[in-house]
Amino acid sequence: MEPTLEAQKSISTDNAIVVKGLRKSFKKLTVLNGIDLCVKRGTVLALLGPNGAGKTTTIRILSTLLLPDGGQALIHSFDVVREASKVRSLIGLTGQYAAVDEYLTGEENLHMIGRLYRLSHQVIKRRTQELLELFDLMEASARTVKTYSGGMRRRLDLAVSLIAAPPIIFLDEPTTGLDPRSRLIMWDIIEQLVAAGTTILLTTQDMDEADRLADKIVVIDGGKIIAEGTSDELKQRVGSERLEITIAEASSFETAKRVVYGDDIHLDSKTRTLSLATKGGVHQLKQVLSRLEEAGVGVENVSFHRPTLDDVFLTLTGHTTEQPNIEIERQEAKK
């Protein structure tokens, strides 16, 4: 290892990850069809997309597990194909399934991977203690992983990825299948990692997750990028904020329709809801409410509704994240 050379080369760019025109096909199926990415140091980029969109394939190429058919990917300016061993010393990978050794204890897993990262025994000891504490695995450290719960395994899995404190971490659907509490713990840890300067590329199907963690979101579908930007930017593409009013009684819904006017009004008599585009001003809210009051219409509920990433996804792809492309998914499962 030549940390000084790596450090020099790393400083030469602001970008931790640069990907240009990445392509990959499995037999006849094109999984990646020209992906461009750029992740600034110390930021989080979320790859958002349904099953089979090419998220895992992208991560596998970037973590040197898979060769691309075309295009280039640089990690701290090192090429993932030609300089794979340099790349490997800079990255930590946490896949969709906990990649820990069931017959070893939590502590032994950390020791093993630490040594394979070429850390000294002294450093490994110190890091192991730190990480076991941090991930709340101290009590279970001497037990074999076989006895761990799903959440504990995933925590250990992430801890193992962090043993060498790599500057770049890939997280492939880090919270898929976790219970809500473990999910919050994961999110908290990821936020701390970022605060400490780590660059993170994560994949997710979960809008909340991308919304909460990512500085930048890249939406991919069918191996192509279909949108990118901050969470707010993506939401703007779908439309503005909306004001939603639920009328108390069905009988007064007709009256309400008459007195409320504005841009792009949607009506739903079943739920007695009317919604209109708004800039979010209090003034408009007051106006609408007083008009309803004057007309004697009771209001049950008022809310501002910002478009969610679900809306974004639906608008951009024509399908929700819950509807995977079955064909592609089958192909991905095969490999």
Binding site: S63, S89, A99, L119, S120, V123, D136, A164, Q192
Partner: protein, 271 residues
């Protein structure tokens, strides 16, 4: 949770490439050896199977098999030992296939470690497991009347050839482990290959009574050479060319199978 204890500067240790590939192999071997002690089923299976065979042949078939002046139990030990080593190596196939099916190989491949280390680890653990099983089998054989005439030199030759044979079969098994598509397939592929090889040899019966073509194969295949050599050294039957042929076969197999397995492992990684 303590805040920000992630980035404590972590320094890597500096050593030569050779040091690290040996270190990686050692780390992986330690892992596989720990698997043996935490998964005792495998160890017992490796030892129990040959003991069962041993007792069956010794007491059920033995009386009907003519081994000339040599008592059948003395004839049988070398064959049982070699069969046990061959079956034991199947655990390289199985354990490698298990690793490949689970996510852990992805983790190893994403680390800056030597890519052959995982294979070396499994093969090394096989050797340890086989050694333990061999001691158990030898122990049993003494109980049922085995009387070796080997001196220290012969015992050393037996040990050396047994180790080489175990390594050779383990490397072949590693190739199978990399080629099979499922854990289930890994469980029976070894048997399909090893069963005929051990029976069409001089392991359990002298080859004289076999049909000619089969006999030609039985007398010239590597297992027979290894068995004949070990039998000669243990109980004093003529060794002839079997000694150097046995060593040559084993070394030859290792020299070919090791790079092939490593190449397969690397190539699979990047599919």
């Amino acid at each position: 949770m303590t805040k920000h204890s992630f980035i404590t500067s972590v320094q890597t240790e500096k050593h030569s490439k050779i040091f690290w590939s040996l270190s990686d192999s050692w780390v992986m071997a330690k892992r596989s050896i720990k698997h043996i002690t935490r998964n005792l089923d495998q160890l017992f299976a490796v030892a129990l199977f040959p003991i069962m065979f041993f007792l069956l042949f010794r007491y059920v078939f033995g009386g009907a098999i003519d081994t000339g002046d040599l008592s059948y139990v003395n004839y049988l030990v070398a064959g049982i030992l070699v069969q046990m080593l061959a079956f034991g190596a199947n655990y390289t196939t199985l354990n490698l296939a298990i690793d490949l099916q689970r996510g852990i190989v992805d983790r190893f491949r994403s680390l800056p470690m030597a890519s052959s280390a995982l294979l070396v680890g499994h093969v090394g653990a096989d050797l340890v497991r086989n050694t333990m099983s061999a001691l158990i089998v030898l122990g049993v054989s003494f109980l049922v009347g085995f009387q070796p005439v080997a001196g220290p030199v012969e015992w050393m030759l037996v040990l050396g050839l047994a180790i080489l044979f175990s390594l050779a079969i383990s490397w072949l098994s590693a190739i199978m482990g990399l080629l099979v598509k499922s854990i289930e397939a890994a469980q029976w592929t070894g048997f399909i290959v090893i069963f005929p090889l051990t029976f069409v040899s001089s392991a359990f019966v002298p080859t004289d009574t076999m049909p000619e073509a089969l006999r030609f194969f039985a007398e010239n295949q590597p297992l027979t050479q290894v068995i004949e050599a070990i039998r000669g050294w243990l109980v004093g039957t003529p060794v002839g060319d079997s000694g150097w042929l046995g060593f040559t076969w084993c070394v030859g197999i290792i020299v070919v199978a090791m790079p092939v397995a490593t190449w397969l492992f690397r190539r699979q990684a990047l599919r």
